[in-house]
Symmetry: C2
Subunit: 221 residues, 2 copies
DNA sequence: CCGAAGTTGAGGAATAACCTCCGCTTAGTT
DNA sequence: AACTAAGCGGAGGTTATTCCTCAACTTCGG
């Protein structure tokens, strides 16, 4: 049953790389909503070529993002290396949101971690414990308010990056400002209001599912 | 040049009311993105009837919302009646966002105030000074951090109501929780971070413009 | 009972995304 | 050089979605 993947012809290989390069750009600006037609155009290649190389959008997305999500793991590791839990957590927030604002595809992929079992489960296994640890350390320190938890993170990410999307390009100050406001809201303080019941995993799934374009195109029916 | 608006036939008048009722529901759930076909369907009326009565979506939106936006003016007045500026401002935030979460059309209309000179300019003239006063009072008190201003309001509103939109119906706790987090971030405090440069009117216009479906349908061209 | 006012909903036109197909080109082997 | 399998291009079929019109029909009200 093992597919003997025979090597691509050299021109095909070159085109494959062109496609991946173009896909990087197109997905960066349009996220998972990008179309393969669009990718083809940017790659200076026919649509058919793209479909031949990546039979579905899923395949292309996996080829593009599975590795790049590891960057988030490194980021979390860097954040855990900081002596202060608060600094670690806020650095993670600022940097990851910065990355996602620049690459909307990466954002969509990151939001799928922990939601989509098919594509990004592996990264999730690495990443989620690190993030949990970031929260735990900040909680233990007393710097992070006790009534927020890891499930708040995707909500914050989704919301701020959505603002970033609507923000004129070249004005990152705006969503950064908004993020700083939220970060100040995350800080433990005597006057903090009541946040009400915590976010559940189901909430996160419902919201993220609704915020991220579907990876697989709706089949005709 | 005065149009002698002759009275509608009785059945037409009844249909007009049905349409407005249906439009209320449809716009509440879909916002300005609702289609007149949709409204017609919900009203149990042919599409043609809707187009006869309201030649454009604009006309229908105006008929629906111009009055209802006055509710926001009342709300702001109530908020100004509170002794504490902080309580007034946060009440305004909580209540208006609550209203907008329930009626997405109202949200879209409210966001257009101060952006769209054609449709809602009059309400803006009433509302904006009241809101400015809310901010001024809270600033004077020292309860609201000095580095946020009235231009932050539409950003907060747009963002939180957008979350509300993605939130499963019947779980208002989620966006409320998020709003409370932001409110705690708005409170003046010694540890507050640096928000960076303030939001400008142009920023607001660009963002809101991008967050709200266009009132006028794109003409074919 | 008639004419003006009103209604209807199928359907034309624009837009947009997905993907296939088949005639043509090219790499690379003999 | 010739041949062939691999690869390429992109027009166009298909499915949606939205906007809005129009010609045939119905109803109101004098």
């Amino acid at each position: 049953m093992t597919e003997t993947a025979r090597p691509l012809r050299r021109d095909a290989q070159r085109n494959r790389e062109r496609i991946l390069l173009a896909a990087h750009d197109v997905f960066a600006s349009r996220g998972f909503a990008a179309t393969l037609d669009d990718v083809a155009h940017h790659a200076g290649v026919g649509v058919g070529t793209v479909y031949r190389r990546f039979p579905t959008k899923e395949a292309l997305i996996e080829a593009l993002f599975v590795d790049r999500l590891e960057d988030l793991v490194s980021l979390a590791e860097d954040a855990l290396a900081l002596p202060s839990g608060w600094d670690g957590l806020t650095m993670m927030l600022r940097r990851s949101i910065g990355m996602h604002a620049v690459d909307r595809g990466l954002r969509d992929a990151a939001l799928c971690i922990g939601i989509d079992k098919n594509h990004f489960a592996k990264v999730g296994e690495h990443l989620l414990p690190l993030i949990q640890e970031l929260f735990d350390r900040a909680h233990a320190e007393g710097s992070l308010r006790a009534d927020v938890g890891i499930h708040d993170l995707p909500i914050i990410m989704a919301t701020v990056t959505d603002l970033a999307r609507h923000t004129p390009p070249g004005r990152p100050e705006i969503f950064r400002r908004f993020l700083e406001l939220i970060i100040d809201g995350l800080r433990a303080g005597p006057e903090n209001g009541d946040l009400g019941p915590a976010i559940t995993q189901e909430d996160v799934e419902a919201i993220v599912h609704d915020c991220v374009p579907p990876i697989e195109a709706r089949r005709r029916g």
